[in-house]
C-alpha cells in the first residue's frame, strides 16, 4: 500500500516536470520570434530539457542506469565538440545531422516497442509504425543531406525509372507496416527488420537525387518529420511532453518548409520528385545587350557619392568568405554618410535565414538587414545596388519572361535601382544555368574578381578618394 502511494506521488512529480518542460519549450520558441529575446528563448527551452531529462531518471522500474549514463556522456561530448567547432557556413548540414539523430532516436524507440511486442491496442501500434517510418526516413535522409552539403556526395544520383523504384520501396515498406499493425505488435523479426531496413533505404533513395540548392527545403521538411515521429512515439509511450514538443515542432517545421518552397516558387512535391537542372534548358539565347565591365576606382566613386546603397549578398559571398570585407566596406560608406542596407532573399544560403546568420557573424547589425517584402519598394530610391555572389534571385526574367524556368519566382528588384554593380568571378551562369538579363542592362556594370579580393579592391578604391 505504501509503495503504491509513493509510486503515484512519483508519477505526479514526473508528469508535473514534463508539463513544466513543455511549457518552457513553447515559451522558449515564442521568445525566439524576435531578435531581442531570442537568446533567452533557447535558454528557457534548455532549462525545460534539463528538468525533463533529470526527472526521467526517477521513472519507476527503470534499470540499465550505467548504459544510459554512458550513452548520454558519449553522445553529449561528441555533439558538444562538433557543435562548438563547426563554422557558420557549415551550420545547415550540422542542423541536418542533429535532426537526423532525433529521427533515428524516434525510430529506435519504435523498434524497441515493436520487437518487444508489448504495445497493445490499435491506435498505439498504428502510430508506432507511422512514427517508425517517418523517423527512419528522416534519419537516413538527413544523413544524405548532411553528406551532400558537406561535399561528401558530389553528384545527384538520377537514373531512368527512379520514381518507380522509389515508389516500389515505399509500397513494400508500407505493406510490411500494415502487416505489423494487423499482427498487433506481435510481428516476428523477419517482418520488423526488413520493415526498418526498407524505411531507411527509402530515406536514402528519395534524398539522393535532390540538388544542393533545394537542400534548405529538404532539411526543413525532415525537421518537421522528426517532430511528428517524436510526437507519435510519445503517444505510444504515453509521454505528453514528447507529444506536445514533437507536434509543435512538426507544425512549425511544416510552416517553415512551406515558406521556403514558396520563396523558390516551387511546391514541396516538385522539390522532392522533379529534377530542377533538367527543366532549365529552355528560355535563353535571346538576351540583348552586352556585359559592361567597370574598374575599382569608378565603382568606388559611384558608391562613395551615393545617398543610398543596397547590398544583395548571395551564397557565393559566404563561400568566398567575403562577409567580413563587406562589413568593412559598409562601415566605410556609413562614415561617408551613405545609407547602406542589406537585401536578403529568403532562399539565400543553404537554409532559411542562413545569410542573416553569416552576416551577423561578420558583425553586421540585424537592423540593417531587410527581407524581400521590406526592401523591394526601396530599390527605386537606391543609387547603387551592389550584388555579390547572388544571381538567380535578382534575375528580372522571373518577372518578365513567361518561358523562363524561374518565371514567377519572387525576386529582389535590384534592376530598379539607378545603378547596379555586380561582383562576379567570371562570365558563367547561375545555379539554374540560365542567363541573367540583369547583367546585360544599360545601368549594370560588371566588376570581375573573386569575392573577397574584389571587395578589398572596392574598399581601396573608396579609400583613395579621401
Amino acid at each position: 500500500m505504501n509503495t503504491l502511494l509513493s509510486l503515484s506521488v512519483m508519477d505526479d512529480l514526473i508528469q508535473a516536470a514534463y508539463f513544466i518542460a513543455a511549457l518552457l519549450f513553447i515559451i522558449g520558441l515564442k521568445r525566439m520570434s524576435s531578435p531581442k529575446g531570442a537568446r533567452g528563448g533557447i535558454v528557457w527551452a534548455g532549462i525545460g530539457m534539463l528538468i525533463a531529462g533529470l526527472i526521467t531518471f526517477l521513472w519507476p522500474g527503470m534499470h540499465n542506469y550505467i548504459l544510459i549514463l554512458v550513452a548520454i556522456f558519449v553522445g553529449g561530448v561528441l555533439a558538444w565538440w562538433s557543435g562548438r567547432r563547426v563554422p557558420m557556413t557549415a551550420m545547415p548540414q550540422m542542423v541536418a545531422l542533429y535532426n537526423g539523430m532525433g529521427g533515428g532516436a524516434a525510430a529506435a524507440i519504435a523498434a524497441q516497442e515493436l520487437i518487444r511486442g508489448r504495445t497493445f491496442g490499435m491506435a498505439p501500434v498504428i502510430l508506432a509504425v507511422i512514427g517508425a517510418i517517418i523517423g527512419a526516413v528522416s534519419f537516413s535522409g538527413s544523413l544524405i543531406a548532411f553528406a551532400k552539403l558537406q561535399g561528401l556526395i558530389k553528384k545527384s544520383l538520377r537514373y531512368r525509372g527512379q520514381q518507380i523504384v522509389n515508389a516500389l520501396v515505399l509500397c513494400i515498406t508500407l505493406a510490411l507496416g500494415i502487416c505489423i499493425i494487423v499482427l498487433q505488435g506481435a510481428a516476428p523479426m523477419y517482418v520488423v527488420i526488413p520493415f526498418f531496413a526498407l524505411a531507411l533505404l527509402f530515406g536514402i533513395l528519395v534524398t539522393l537525387p535532390i540538388g544542393g540548392a533545394d537542400m534548405p527545403v529538404v532539411i526543413s521538411l525532415y525537421n518537421a518529420c522528426t517532430g511528428l515521429a517524436v510526437a507519435f512515439e510519445g503517444f505510444v509511450l504515453g509521454n505528453a511532453a514528447m507529444i506536445i514538443a514533437g507536434m509543435v515542432v512538426g507544425a512549425a517545421g511544416t510552416l517553415l518548409t512551406q515558406l521556403m518552397a514558396k520563396a523558390m516558387n516551387r511546391s514541396i512535391t516538385n522539390v522532392l520528385f522533379s529534377n530542377f537542372g533538367e527543366t532549365a534548358s529552355g528560355g535563353d539565347g535571346n538576351v540583348s545587350g552586352s556585359l559592361k565591365p567597370i574598374e575599382a576606382a569608378d565603382a568606388g566613386v559611384m558608391m562613395a557619392y551615393a545617398n543610398k546603397v543596397i547590398i544583395v549578398p548571395g551564397y557565393g559571398m559566404a563561400v568566398a568568405q567575403a562577409q567580413h570585407k563587406v562589413w568593412e566596406l559598409t562601415q566605410l560608406l556609413q562614415n561617408r554618410g551613405v545609407t547602406v542596407k542589406f537585401a536578403i532573399h529568403p532562399v539565400a544560403g543553404r537554409m532559411p535565414g542562413h545569410m542573416n546568420v553569416l552576416l551577423a557573424e561578420a558583425g553586421v547589425p540585424y537592423d540593417l538587414i531587410s527581407d524581400l517584402d521590406e526592401i523591394n519598394p526601396e530599390f527605386p530610391t537606391a543609387d547603387v545596388t551592389l550584388i555579390i555572389g547572388a544571381n538567380d534571385v535578382v534575375n528580372p526574367d522571373a518577372r518578365n519572361k513567361k518561358d523562363s524556368p524561374i518565371y514567377g519566382m519572387p525576386i529582389l528588384n535590384a534592376d530598379k535601382a539607378k545603378n547596379v554593380i555586380v561582383i562576379k568571378r567570371g562570365q558563367g551562369r547561375g545555379f539554374s544555368g540560365i542567363e541573367n538579363a540583369l547583367f546585360y542592362m544599360d545601368n549594370t556594370r560588371m566588376f570581375y574578381g573573386d569575392g573577397q579580393e574584389a571587395v578589398t579592391r572596392l574598399i581601396q578604391g573608396i579609400k583613395s578618394l579621401e
Binding site: I42, A52, M91, A106, I109, G250, L256, I344
Partner: protein, 101 residues
C-alpha cells in the same frame, strides 16, 4: 497512460500552437529557429531513456543505447549550435554599446 481522445486534443492544440508561434517570426531568425525547434524535438531523449531503462535483453539494450546516444546528440548539438547563432544577433545600438565598453 493517456486516453486516445485526450491525446487527439493534445495533438490538435499543439499543432496550432506550433503554427501560431512560428508564423510571426521574421525571416532573419529562420535559421536559428529551425535549429531551436530541432533542439526541442530532442525531447525524444526522455522516451529513449525510458526505452533503454526497460530493456531486458542484449538486442533491446543495443537498440536502446543507440536511441539514447542519438537523442543526446540531437539535444546537445541542437542547443550548442542554436546558442552560438543567437549570440551573434546584435542591433546597431548593441554594437555601439559593445564598442564603448
Amino acid at each position: 497512460m493517456i486516453n486516445g481522445f485526450i491525446a487527439l486534443y493534445i495533438f490538435m492544440l499543439a499543432a496550432f500552437t506550433g503554427y501560431e508561434v512560428i508564423s510571426r517570426v521574421p525571416v532573419i531568425l529562420h535559421t536559428p529557429l529551425m535549429s531551436g525547434s530541432n533542439f526541442v524535438h530532442g525531447i525524444v531523449l526522455v522516451g529513449a531513456m525510458v526505452a533503454l531503462g526497460n530493456a531486458d535483453n542484449p538486442a533491446e539494450q543495443i537498440i536502446g543505447f543507440i536511441g539514447v546516444l542519438l537523442a543526446t546528440g540531437n539535444v546537445v548539438g541542437g542547443y550548442v549550435s542554436t546558442e552560438r547563432m543567437l549570440e551573434m544577433f546584435k542591433s546597431s545600438q548593441d554594437r555601439k554599446k559593445g564598442a564603448r565598453a
